[in-house]
Symmetry: C2
Subunit: 484 residues, 2 copies
């Protein structure tokens, strides 16, 4: 239930991976379907795969593209001039490579952060005539306060049940703080997306739950793992009230003071949710030699949140997809099928990009052989989430030998789409693949001001580009298309 | 020379420790002065020392005091109502313990942060009609810009030599960025204060050097070890120009863009340096039974920077000093000499607190047996810096057995005062002692918004309280005063 709830609430890069994680962690192992014997690849294909792998491992193409996107263009929220410029830039770069490039229009969200300030104006022990300023950031479903802000007492809860138990009588007219920590221990145990999912339910759905009981505003503890007083933004369901994420330290401050007595906050948030605008997915084809109608998608999303510069979320996914095309062209490798590079728009907030693609390309879905998305950062690539049949998994088995030198050895079955932009494809039956990056620190930076170029290690980015290029080429060049 | 330069520039908590570190790391070991044989303590004194140690290790007195100072009172910059309230609070708490408490007036600095905003308004590849906002914070010697800010091109340098080489022609009319990193590797190698000293020279003295060549403003890379886009404030020599610290990520952004072409910034900083005001050192005596005129100082500084809540810098130092008195009173231990708890004011900016103490108490300096300061955080206490004669060191040798169960086993000779507030005492010949805390992460949080209560581990704080209580009691209760 929680998973379905989340799926309906969060058009987030992380949701579907989380859902898979949650399912695995909560479900006892099932008896395995008998697996077909592993396939083998021709010596020529093996040579090509090794060649693209090694070319990616010695190339800084992806790094230079990422530097331009993050530092010269900067933050790229959907609907912004930077997002538009980024799409044009990526399209031009892919045209330079000789691809057939289209900027495909999509109705995308257009949200602009405004002023944001939270002051504790009364609390136990407060020094007269002083306030304490909290670190916080608006989340996307927030309504605006008046410019001078609104002031109310804060009630603190730790789950939806506590909120319900308080009831309208104790919630109406107040600010509700959901102080639910992201469990960093889970991240260290390889369960970062489960930890994210548990906490993000409150960012996404907390404001609505609070509004339904008459709260004047909703505050959530930032969903993140580090302790540097960093607020993390993100999507929330519009609930008709102001909504913001406090830095973890400030959520705890409020909780500690509220345990001692009345805590009163003055809150000013002035975001603007503007009408949707026309944005663009970049869709760039390297046409297949024998089956140009058969399509293998390699992709990441080009939009980012506005606080940082969108390096790990998800400039990295875009540039390693671009790098796959660059390497094939540089090595003059023309696979049988079409390799389609997609830089998605509006993954973070409205999901307009993939909705538009699903509408425009519905007729081609039966010819989409597989769809790959990288949207979990640029940490070392450990392997792939696979949403496909056992027969399809078996057909990819020979890749493990090619990938082993990169350090990517994990093929992990997924029950859900391992990427939110490829979800419409996966739901239509297309095999879906998501890259598994080392995610131990991903949520330390995710959706915060600290998502900047330096968070990407150049060597790890090369490894990611190599893993993407290997699996992308394999899917486009195998003699038989991946079975559905 | 660098050390002397720094000494004249920086009234900082860290300077003197740094100076010691730097001296050690650069000087070959000297032949040792013959050391007197270790002393031994009476069974009664040993019992008392063990009792205070164990009492501290099982007490949350220091923690509760730290929580109140950081969360109920909050940031405590010198001259602020919170700093005043904190002095009154600490005085009242020490009176509750039965100490003879005085609020001793001192002329202290009064600096107020204003608006702070930096926008890159032109740079290579900039998307038309967009800017990039940088994370930065004003440093204390900054002049104010006009409210609408000032705009200029940025030149980037990495040391004073590069600045000099550029000369007035290339510096005048521009903003100078000193992009000098804090070397985190040194912190991991136990040389955090050396790393700090190397970088902080630019925060302290960079603005003046830039102003002398006609720069319109000075920017420095934040002196800190973490990568969470966190600006770190601090003292700088007033230079008649605006001055601020950029987050490390933003210093690198400017550097990267400036390598590609012209980078132009709009900078707004509106700090106010107000006239000095009367602040207070808290001076609280637990009178000695036999030699009340002989004084042992245990101390930390009560003021903090305004961005965080002053937990590691230096609420921790104050509360472990308070805890020493609390334990002695609770265990009814009355040492021969007077134990004097001091909570210093204005360590961070003007140094007014310890200057006033030196003036008021000059006549007593010959009766100050030793002065202890804790101002390097609340990490696990590894031991002590000792600025004293070999004979004095030998007299403290028996303490190692008492301290070993805490995990404090390091007595490290220092050539300089191991604390800035006790420096006037040390310069007058009083043996000086500074606590050595595990400093690997200290500068990740230091002087930033992230200096909050959660950065202190309750068990490590107990260990610090135990170490302070043991050495404080020993100095006050040894049969003979520590030799000078």
């Amino acid at each position: 239930m929680r998973i379905r709830l989340l799926k309906s609430l969060i058009p987030s890069c992380a949701l579907l991976l989380f859902a898979s994680f949650a399912a695995w962690s909560q479900t006892p192992p099932k008896p395995q379907t008998p697996t077909p014997p592993p396939a083998s690849y021709s010596p020529q294909l093996r040579d090509q795969l090794q060649a693209v792998r090694d070319a990616a491992l010695s190339s800084d193409y992806a790094w230079h593209q990422l530097a331009y996107l993050t530092e010269n263009i900067g933050p790229r929220p959907a609907g912004s001039p930077q997002a538009q410029a980024a799409a044009e830039y990526v399209a031009a770069e892919l045209r330079k490579l000789g691809l057939d490039v289209h900027l495909e229009p999509a109705q995308v969200s257009h949200w602009i952060r405004g002023e944001e300030q939270a002051l504790l104006v009364d609390y136990p022990g407060r020094v007269p005539d002083t306030t304490q300023r909290l670190a916080l950031t608006t989340i996307s479903g927030s309504s605006a306060t008046p410019p001078a802000g609104i002031t109310a007492d804060i009630v603190v809860v730790h789950n939806f049940g506590e909120l319900t138990a308080l009831g309208r009588e104790k919630v109406a007219g107040k600010f509700v703080l959901f102080n639910v920590p992201y469990d960093q221990r889970k991240a260290l145990a390889g369960m970062a997306f489960e930890a994210y999912g548990e906490a993000v339910a409150y960012r996404a759905g907390g404001p609505k739950a609070a509004a339904q009981l008459g709260a004047l505003a909703a505050l959530v503890r930032s969903v993140g793992g580090a302790d540097y007083r960093l607020p993390h933004t993100g999507y929330s369901v519009p609930a008709g009230i102001p909504a913001a994420a406090l830095a973890a330290e400030d959520a705890d401050l409020v909780e500690h003071l509220a345990a001692q007595g009345r805590v009163r906050m003055s809150l000013t948030l002035t975001p603007q949710t503007l009408p949707d605008v026309t944005g663009y997915n970049v869709v760039a084809d390297l046409k297949g030699s024998d089956h140009p109608e058969q399509i293998v998608v390699v992709s990441g999303h080009l939009d980012s949140w506005d606080l940082g510069r969108g390096a790990i979320d998800d400039g990295a996914g875009v540039v390693i997809s671009m790098a796959t095309a660059e390497i094939l062209q540089r090595l003059h490798i023309r696979p049988l099928r079409t390799l389609r590079v997609i830089a998605w728009m509006d993954e973070e907030n409205g999901g307009g990009g993939h909705r538009a693609y699903a509408k425009t390309h519905a007729a081609e879905f039966s010819n989409h052989i597989a769809a790959i998305e990288s949207d979990a950062g640029a940490g070392h690539p450990l392997g792939f989430y696979m949403k496909m049949t056992p027969a399809a998994l078996a057909a990819l088995h020979p890749l493990l030998d090619i990938l082993r030198p990169i350090g990517s050895t994990v093929f992990r079955s997924s029950e859900y789409s391992p990427g939110s932009d490829i979800e419409p494809l996966v739901e239509a039956g297309v095999p879906g693949i998501g890259m598994i990056q080392d995610g131990r620190k991903y949520f330390d930076y995710h959706h915060s001001a600290a998502d900047t170029l330096d968070k990407v290690d150049p060597q790890e980015l090369r490894e990611n580009a190599a893993a993407m290029a290997v699996i992308g080429l394999a899917l486009a060049a195998m003699p038989d298309p991946l079975p559905r």
